[in-house]
């Protein structure tokens, strides 16, 4: 009888340890800590009750200049400011609002909120409600509740949870090859391809109005938390071709007067192709120049 008991006892604990191992392995993304150098996840960087000088919002155009990773020290040194970037690749206004909501909900403070706003962010569901930006995000219950209370596509919060159970460590490091674009690389084909990527369909006015309202909500949120808001249209080689850019300028002018926010149109500020990776992303040299000459002066 003793032998039977000890055999069962041993088998039980071995099975328990095995199940425990699989459980931990499968759910490690819920609790693993990442360093600045190996994670895209913005939530990893959002602590509680911290004070910053600047919070940058935007898309990949903001990340290439103000990324949280290896370039942070250098850019921070140029600006002489402590900053946090909540930008996300392909992020429209709605995902950026969620990040800003979460930032303030964690009782953080910032003097400035600087939004590098691309015009295409104001036109399409694929950059907003149907944006699966959460796939690379760390799991936070409060963030999940924000996804549920905003009009995201149903699959977005589901994907947020489901992705955490993958056994593959899905934190791909974005390796940006620093290269210099030359004038001969800029072909009509390249321009058309880039525009089609950002504008898959004809931009619609009703979408613009819808996302304008969300933009105003973001301004109100920042104001409520005593942060000054600055909008920047980021530099691009497509400034003359971008649909909706004039509508965006009109909107930001209107918001500037209505909410006492600041607006700077830097879409044509940098026209030298050698400072770009492609048609609209600055390379390291271009980013440093942009930071030094255009961003630093507007942040006293």
């Amino acid at each position: 009888m003793k032998k039977t008991f000890f055999l069962q006892f041993t088998c039980f604990w071995l099975l328990f340890l095995l199940l425990g191992y699989f459980f931990v392995f499968a759910t490690e993304h819920f609790t693993t800590s990442y360093t600045r150098d190996d994670a895209h996840a913005n939530l990893v960087y959002i602590a509680k009750q911290k004070t910053y000088d600047v919070v940058f919002l935007g898309s990949s155009h903001a990340i290439t200049v103000f990324g949280n990773k290896k370039t942070y020290k250098d850019t921070s040194a140029i600006l002489h400011k402590k900053y946090l970037t909540l930008a996300n690749a392909g992020s429209g206004v709605l995902p950026q609002k969620i990040y800003l909501d979460y930032f303030f909900a964690e009782k953080n403070k910032t003097t400035y909120v600087v939004y590098l706003l691309d015009p295409w962010a104001l036109y399409y569901r694929q950059w907003n409600e149907e944006n699966y930006f959460v796939a690379e995000e760390a799991f936070r219950i409060r963030f999940l509740s924000l996804l549920l209370t905003h009009p995201f596509d149903r699959q977005v919060p589901i994907e947020y949870i489901r992705n955490k159970f993958t056994y593959l460590r899905f934190i791909p490091e974005q390796k940006i090859k620093q290269k210099i674009l030359s004038k001969k690389d800029i072909t009509p084909d390249l321009i058309a391809k880039t525009l089609h990527h950002y504008y898959p369909r004809h931009p619609e006015e009703k979408n613009f109005q819808h996302y304008s309202v969300i933009l105003e909500d973001m301004i109100k949120l920042a104001k409520k938390n005593n942060s000054q808001v600055i909008f920047i249209i980021p530099p691009t080689l497509l400034a003359k071709n971008l649909p909706g850019i004039e509508e965006e300028k009109k909107l930001l002018n209107k918001l500037q007067h209505k909410y006492d926010v600041h607006f700077y149109d830097y879409s044509s500020a940098i026209t030298d192709p050698s400072l770009y990776l492609d048609m609209d992303h600055l390379n390291r040299q271009g980013a440093d120049l942009f930071t030094e000459k255009f961003v630093k002066p507007i942040l006293p």
Partner: protein, 482 residues
């Protein structure tokens, strides 16, 4: 050494292993040694108080059995007096000193209550009384008597054993029995889950709210009050389960201390299911000697109030404890008027599940109101909380349209947003899971008869819940304070 700690699990493992490896003649000595180690882990110098009481009770009981007439009564009074005197000294003198501003040390560090004092003094008095009544022969071996008092599974917080129940078990040889080990481990696991996962989780919210009740609205205070009912139940019954399970591993059967009290359908029924060992002690040594229900209705009701006032006093030196006790006594007097009524031979099968459910719910709510006095820091605070709850309930109809206008997803998301409400959601899920488990266990469906796969799946689930939701060894048991 807290039951909900790795230290205790390690200690228990060693004791049980050594127990079955040793020849039977050394086992009682091992248990005595283990009990001393268990006690010394708390506050070593207090062991002398324990040995002193053990010596007094042992010697007086020995002479009570031999004496006659008034001498027997005197010896009994000496035994009871020593026990109650020490209990009074450690439990009530610090409170009185603070009350009359004689003691500036708000922590009362010198008067740290000896471990299990309220429990082993009652156990010792029970022995002396049973010898006096000639229902128990005095033990000739002081070591065995010491073990009866100090037996480590039930030393800290009961169950309060009777000599006829426990002492004969020390004389038997306990071989390794598979079912004892399985039942023991199962009880310990369930007790740990109730304490670590449920009670401590609920305690997070209850402690927050009851620390500053004026900062919270009626809904939250009401919820915290309901959660406290489950917190104290899981805390105390969890401890009892671990104690009973630990003893069972060694082959000893301790008395059941809780019998699904929140399934009770009357106040009187509740008090036959809650802390059974204490309230049977009061019944046998206070209520019945006062006349019980044999001296007319008024005397019976007075006896009930006396018993419950004393039980309130036993729990702590504070007016709110006495008020708590008296309230319960009053509720019994106003409802059935019976203390420990005899169970009906045939339960009323005509009552539907709904009716029985409503009875249980009403009983729970009445008991829960009394728990406010138990949990609050003072009677005034308890009355303030009660007043806030009743005023809030009067205004509740105004909030119905607002709640109705929100979608369920929005409500759920809003609850998830706040850390405090996240804790509340977890607490509610745990309480529902507990109630379902209790109803299953109360239905007498044998868990052992389920397939091994299902049993193991349940054990895994409980173990994982401890790892994921539990907070091991940080929170002591509520009843350790008594």
């Amino acid at each position: 050494m807290l039951f909900n700690s790795f230290k205790y699990i390690f200690f228990l493992g060693i004791v049980v292993t050594a127990y079955y490896c040793l020849p039977p003649k050394y086992r009682l000595f091992l248990l005595f040694l283990a009990s001393c180690v268990f006690y010394l882990a708390y506050k070593p110098e207090y062991i002398f108080i324990l040995f002193f009481l053990i010596s007094i009770d042992f010697v007086t009981a020995f002479f009570i059995a031999k004496a006659k007439g008034r001498r027997r009564i005197l010896l009994l009074l000496i035994s009871l007096g020593m026990n109650l005197g020490i209990l009074f000294f450690f439990k009530y003198v610090p409170f009185l000193a603070t009350l009359f501003q004689l003691n500036n040390d708000s922590n009362n560090s010198w008067f740290l209550l000896p471990l299990g004092l309220s429990f082993h003094t009652f156990q010792g008095m029970s022995y002396a009384i049973e010898v006096f009544k000639r229902k128990q022969k005095p033990i000739k071996n002081i070591g065995m008597y010491a073990l009866y008092i100090m037996f480590f599974p039930q030393l800290a917080a009961g169950p309060i054993e009777r000599p006829q129940q426990l002492l004969p078990q020390f004389l038997k040889k306990h071989d390794f029995v598979h079912s004892n080990i399985v039942i023991g481990l199962r009880l310990i696991l369930w007790g740990m889950v109730k304490k670590i996962v449920i009670a401590d989780r609920l305690g997070v919210i209850v402690n927050l709210v009851y620390a500053k009740p004026h900062e919270y609205n009626t809904g939250i205070i009401l919820l915290a009050t309901i959660l406290f009912a489950f917190e104290i139940y899981c805390d105390f019954s969890g401890y009892s389960d671990i104690a009973i399970g630990s003893a069972r591993l060694l082959g000893y059967k301790l008395v059941t201390n809780f019998s699904f009290p929140y399934l009770a359908r009357s106040i009187a029924d509740f008090w036959t299911r809650w802390h059974i060992s204490l309230y049977t002690w009061f019944r046998d040594y206070i209520y019945i000697p006062l006349g019980g229900n044999r001296k007319g209705t008024i005397r019976r009701l007075c006896n009930i109030l006396i018993v419950f006032a004393l039980s309130g006093l036993w729990h702590g030196a504070g007016l709110h404890y006495i008020v708590w006790g008296l309230l319960n006594g009053l509720l019994i007097c106003l409802t059935s008027g019976k203390f420990f009524p005899k169970k009906e031979a045939q339960p009323n099968k005509k009552l539907s599940i709904l009716s029985r459910g409503v009875q249980a719910l009403v009983t729970f709510l009445l008991i829960d109101i009394t728990w406010i006095f138990f949990r609050a820091q003072s009677t005034n605070e308890a009355l303030a909380i009660l007043s806030k709850i009743f005023h809030g309930l009067q205004n509740f109809p105004e909030y119905i349209p607002q709640i109705y206008s929100l979608s369920s997803t929005k409500i759920f998301a809003m609850l998830l947003f706040n850390e405090f409400t996240q804790q509340i959601i977890i607490a509610i899920i745990l309480v529902v899971a507990l109630l379902i488990s209790e109803m299953y266990l109360a239905s007498h469906l044998s868990f052992s008869r389920l397939a091994i796969g299902i049993r193991w799946a349940v054990y895994f689930l409980l173990l994982f819940s401890m790892l994921v939701l539990g907070d091991v060894s940080k929170q002591k048991f509520i009843y350790f304070s008594f």
